[in-house]
Assembly symmetry: C2
């Protein structure tokens, strides 16, 4: 059996390398076809590592901090754990990159080191969000923040990338694709969304369900929501921020409500647990930079070992399903079609 | 005492004219300096009107429906209740327009009939949102959806408009102005936000606090948040949608949790009430189209009479504080400064 290898930035995140090492061990125990390269401070890593089977440590003293300016950090810190992990993929020594570190730096490393798939203009960040409604499940939002500006053509490519992800990783046969817009009618939106609407509508291979608004996406209107990176990022943070703020407010309010309130909270413990579970995103794994030549996946800086495990599980699925090779083939074919069309 | 007159679209909204008429009567009883013109079906209005004092009914059979295409509806339905209300302001018969009807149509009527203030390029819609955090109070977001595209210069004007609103209506002496962006650092964002940042920073009259992200705005980082209309609209709907979905989910979960859960909910009744109150926006009034020659204010289609009352109270404050004449004077002065600068 050929092992698949994940390059892990062991030093990224608030609780690195502990939670990273613990999560890696959980995934290694679960998947016998996975092997790991851990980049980071060997001594620190060894503090937490229980069993070295299928785990290699590549020592480096350098790391990228959360506050580093992304492009400069990736260019200048040539031996940072994150940079070495990305280089391993570029040089064929690993199949995917994982980090809980500086998001901007990981996006930069993905673009500059791992590199774009031929035919993709602007790789986008895919996030998975729970539907905060009766509906079970989740939806994918992309671009959720890799770009500050996007053209209609990029949005169209996000639909393809998101479709592959939803099919292969989430097992949705014919994912519904929605275009994030400021109204549901066809003519609505900016010039960019109006153009994107027409591109999406024209592709008969896509299950395009039209425009979707940012309050409706929580209610099971689409499996994949396509947006420019600026708006996608704003919507992602607004949803996460509001959900978390509401729960905090509820908690504070209960804490200040005296004995009666505390008793009530005790009786509602399972209800609150259910709500919290529903909003918990960790089971869906991390955010994926789609459109580059290998899985480049980011988990929250505050990830616990369970979240690290789920994210490695997500990467395992991407590798197992050969999602990236399929995407590469798709965009190659599209390029050939374009040339054929020109020659006709 | 000179009465101030509000032109009311009595037929707009899900429960019109009942809730509109009831809300108008509440406001009339409260403010002795207010008079109202109610545009709509006289027979329908009279069904709910208890006392005609300072309330005039102007009968019309025509009205704009929620599903009407805004621009076409305003142009073709010349006798619609909303159009007549806007015309009354244009012709000096009333001082402000109020409607719970079709938002797009009201924005169109505001722009085409009431008309822009000289010097304002693109009027923007100002919404007031509660801070979902320990912080008391609220923040203003504009443009929350009047435009699908905006330039940096428009964003700068929104800062001025929002500042006047926060000062005069909310009584905040030196409102903190934040620019909605995808990161807090100065260089972050799209070309538009980068340019807007510099315009805002250069104006020493503004209390510009820099970039703010859509999760932070709930936590008391700014009194006025400036955004392009596309992003502002997406963020507004994401926040409202998530807050409402979370509360619904909690309610559903409690309803399905058996006797224990119901008892717990009973004990937590005041806590839930507090949370709901905190998220209730009706006390802040409606959304205001800022940059036109009179207050043009929209309340939710589902507004109850109390929300209508609060929105009329908000309009009363705008008129009492002479907010619009002050804005007109400001932009006139700015225009003179520009000419002076050119002549120098």
């Amino acid at each position: 059996m050929k092992l698949m290898k994940i390059a892990v930035d062991a030093m990224g995140g608030d609780n690195a390398p502990r939670t990273v090492v613990e999560g890696v061990e959980l995934a290694r125990n679960e998947y016998s076809d996975l092997e790991f390269n851990l980049y980071g401070n060997e001594k620190e890593i060894r503090k937490f590592l229980k069993n070295e089977s299928r785990i290699n440590i590549i020592h480096t003293d350098e790391k990228i901090d959360m506050n580093d300016e992304p492009v400069r950090a990736v260019r200048q810190k040539k031996n940072a754990s994150m940079v070495l992990a990305a280089k391993a993929v570029k040089e064929g020594q690993a199949d995917a990159v994982f980090s809980c570190g500086n998001t901007g730096a990981l996006l930069t490393a993905g673009l500059l080191i791992v590199g774009r798939i031929k035919g993709i203009s602007r790789p986008g960040l895919l996030s998975t969000l729970p539907m905060i409604s009766k509906a079970q499940g989740a939806f994918n939002l992309l671009d959720s923040g890799a770009n500050a500006e996007n053209k209609a053509e990029h949005l169209y490519q996000y639909a393809i990338l998101g479709k592959y992800y939803a099919q292969k990783i989430r097992g949705i046969e014919n994912p519904r694709i929605g275009l994030l817009n400021n109204g549901t009618e066809e003519h609505k939106g900016s010039k960019t969304t109006q153009e994107a609407y027409q591109l999406l509508k024209a592709d008969k291979e896509l299950n395009f369900v039209g425009n979707v608004e940012s309050n409706a996406i929580l209610k099971d209107v689409a499996d994949v929501v396509v947006a420019d990176g600026f708006t996608g990022n704003a919507v992602l943070k607004a949803i996460e921020g509001t959900a978390s703020a509401t729960l905090h407010l509820l908690k504070d309010s209960i804490m200040n409500s005296g004995l009666k309130g505390k008793l009530g909270a005790l009786l509602l413990k399972s209800t609150f647990g259910e709500l919290k579970n529903k909003m918990n995103q960790s089971q869906y794994g991390g955010a994926v930079l789609l459109g580059v030549k290998a899985p480049v996946v980011k988990a929250h800086g505050s990830s616990d070992s369970e979240t690290v495990y789920y994210t490695l599980k997500q990467i395992h699925k991407m590798l197992e399903e050969k999602m990236i090779p399929d995407l590469v083939a798709y965009f190659e074919e599209e390029a050939i079609k374009k040339v054929d069309n020109l020659e006709e």
